[in-house]
Symmetry: C2
Subunit: 111 residues, 2 copies
């Protein structure tokens, strides 16, 4: 079962929401999954494909956790972000711009 805000997590006893969030997002594939679902809903299998065939074991585990955290929900079209999930995904989306600048910087520096 997923750790909810208010519960102590790895590296923080306080249950402070941001700490819980950093802990959840720091699990492998979680960020990527939110990113992909930000592009639109997807079925279990489509999601696997989008994520380079991540193992179904792990995918299912993450989907379960994200459901418990009310970030995603299952509907007609498969898995989709909830309202809150979308708000989070929008914030993640802004990282794309940063990442591009960052990559350009690393490249020019690496010469």
């Amino acid at each position: 079962m997923a750790k909810l805000p208010g519960m102590p997590v790895r590296g923080s006893q306080t249950g402070r929401p941001i700490m819980v969030l950093l802990d959840v997002l720091g699990q492998r594939w979680t960020l990527r999954l939110l990113w992909e679902l930000g592009q639109g809903p997807a079925t279990f299998r489509a999601l696997r494909t989008r994520c380079d065939d991540v193992s179904p074991t792990l995918l299912n585990q993450r989907l379960k956790d994200l459901r418990e955290l009310a970030l995603i929900a299952q509907g007609e079209a498969g898995y989709a972000l909830t309202e809150h999930g979308m708000a989070l995904a929008r914030r993640l989306a802004t990282l794309d711009g940063w990442a591009n600048e960052w990559a350009a910087m690393l490249e020019s520096r690496g010469d």
Copy 2:
């Protein structure tokens, strides 16, 4: 050694910067470390303390990776974010507000 943008990473062959970033941030403690350094520079030991005594093995590994990715650097005051690191940390900082709303929602729903 850390994966640089342009290199294929777990779940993405393209080396697209955002994919590399999501992969790096999805490693345990990376997000937390950036968060803590966003509060200001810290020595190795101080950082360990701030992160609930994360193991030195892992801390060192992450610091090494983040240095290679030019997100942090070592200076007088210990480890500190670089310019780019700060820009990233500022974006992460906005997650705090979201996390609080999210926690409030979960709580009201959980009654």
